[in-house]
Symmetry: C2
């Protein structure tokens, strides 16, 4: 289903220099209980060969080692919401939460954010308990390069049925780790319980990262990529759980909605089953596409799922680097 077709006017804003990408970073364990990235990064720290290409070597980074050590999402503060200019540029104090300190360290390591010194590309590895398959999450602002990377990942991994999701923040500034580099992409694979490492999800994520390295290498070597059309899911808004007067959950995701991420949700369909047995129906006036249905990490925000619209975008060709640039490799 296609709710609309759009060109690229105003769709992305990140500049993409016409230079090879030499400084690439792959981060895992940004949330310490999302195990695919934790174990992939730990593997690559021991044996980095899969991240090495003739024109560059990606650096693996365990983003939140304290949270990984205790197998929790975060210690004091969600690291993937900590990359604001306010946090990154404020003066350090002894009472700063662990993740605030760690965000500043990562900003020094792969940023500084919005500076010429920042890494060229950051790939951040996540898992979800939702049945989202292999989801490629774009920042609010993204480059033609990143769209071509997504297209390449889809073509190279047809078994994974990758979907592309543009996450629009309610605030203007991006908060995530992938916003620290000049360009970035988040891989969000599921379903996988927190604290569990599934072989199938692990190998899917490994294949996607290897494909991403291959794409960057092709670009660096002077490959041009033709224009294409691509379906993407774009955030509309969030839907919260029904609550009791005391602020406790009054029900759960309806069994007919559970695991139906990215499937059309039509007005009148049930979305919640209350503990008293009643159904709550979706009251919107148009079909939407839910994501992050029943994600464990969002219970603390009472977020039950996110709604998105599906649109088709037309992406222009990605020019080949000039020979002067590639020779500079």
């Amino acid at each position: 289903m296609c709710l609309g077709t759009t060109g690229l006017t105003g769709m992305y804003s990140s500049p993409m220099s016409q230079k090879p990408l030499r400084r690439v970073v792959v981060t895992g364990g940004t949330h310490g209980n999302e195990m695919s990235g934790v174990y992939l990064v730990q593997h690559w720290l021991q044996d980095p060969r899969e991240l090495q290409r003739p024109s560059f070597s990606a650096m693996p980074v365990l983003a939140n080692p304290e949270a990984v050590a205790t197998c929790c999402r975060y210690i004091d503060y969600d690291l993937n919401r900590a990359f604001t200019s306010t946090i990154l540029n404020s003066k350090a104090t002894p009472d700063d939460p662990y993740e605030v300190r760690r965000a500043r360290e990562l900003n020094q390591l792969v940023g500084p954010k919005s500076s010429d010194q920042a890494f060229d590309f950051l790939l951040d590895l996540h898992n979800t308990t939702a049945n989202m398959g292999a989801c490629l999450i774009l920042e609010s602002s993204y480059s033609i390069f990143t769209l071509h990377l997504c297209h390449y990942l889809k073509l190279q991994n047809p078994d994974l049925s990758c979907c592309v999701f543009q996450y629009l923040f309610s605030r203007k500034e991006s908060l995530g780790l992938d916003s620290v580099a000049k360009n970035g992409l988040t891989l969000e694979l599921g379903p996988q319980p927190q604290g569990v490492l599934r072989a199938d999800i692990y190998s899917q994520m490994r294949a996607l990262v290897i494909s991403a390295m291959d794409f960057i290498e092709l670009f660096n070597q002077g490959t041009a990529f033709p224009a294409f059309d691509m379906e993407i899911y774009k955030t509309l808004d969030r839907v919260n759980f029904p609550l009791t007067e005391d602020g406790a959950l009054a029900g759960t995701i309806h069994p007919q909605l559970q695991d139906q991420d990215l499937e059309p949700l039509k007005p009148g369909a049930p979305i919640f089953k209350l503990f008293n047995g009643e159904d709550v129906l979706y009251e919107g006036d148009s079909t939407v596409f839910p994501l992050f249905i029943n994600e464990a990490a969002y219970y603390e925000k009472h977020l039950a799922f996110m709604k998105s619209e599906k649109i088709t975008i037309s992406v222009p060709a990605l020019s080949a680097l000039t020979s002067a640039s590639t020779l500079a490799l």
Copy 2:
């Protein structure tokens, strides 16, 4: 597949008095991130009608409220390993871990363990990330009454394909909460991620608890139950993850074993996929039945899965209470 048939000699040792069960308790949140029991108990604390029968009213108890509040398995110590006579009978100190204090409180509330004052029956509600379906877990020692309850739950809930698992501890004494009452049973339903409440698992657990209440009521009213044969799974031993020299995981559950709980595991079948790509094969000399495959909570112990054997037991009839007993209701 049946690996053996046995009668009941030495199979169980708990005494079962020929009296109605008046004092029954249903506990949830013994592990604070196993959400079905947490939300069922919280519902019944508000509206206890489903736990009420003419001859008794079961008491709902949130076993580990601090762990529930922070949505973790436990704060300091696994509550479901804390019901030892050493812990329960030792003198309290200000430095006692939270769950040690809570175990003593629960022992006062529904025990004391092994005393005449203890509750007649305790039903403890758990979830697992493993694909175990509806698993009924018996203590090492169990009564004919509990076996008849399991049989009744299977018959009344044919869609759930309930399995009965006898958990034999390596030590003689039972450590679990269900050992505090005179008789007990643990419901272990999955797969469900920690911190997630799935409507399907929630309604399955609710149906099983309601059936258990119905069975106790039938028994109390003087119903006799005939003898039967039943398959049960009996613990053999545990299988740990392969580790590196540094003590880190060297691989994960093999994709061919993942989600295959209670399916036969034959010698020579792959059980682990190492991160270097190699397979590790099961080297036992007989077919076994794995359980708790890739359970999140067992990573801290490096436990990958448990092995069991499947046997058929012959359970004698459960006599009707004498009319004097039922009249005493």
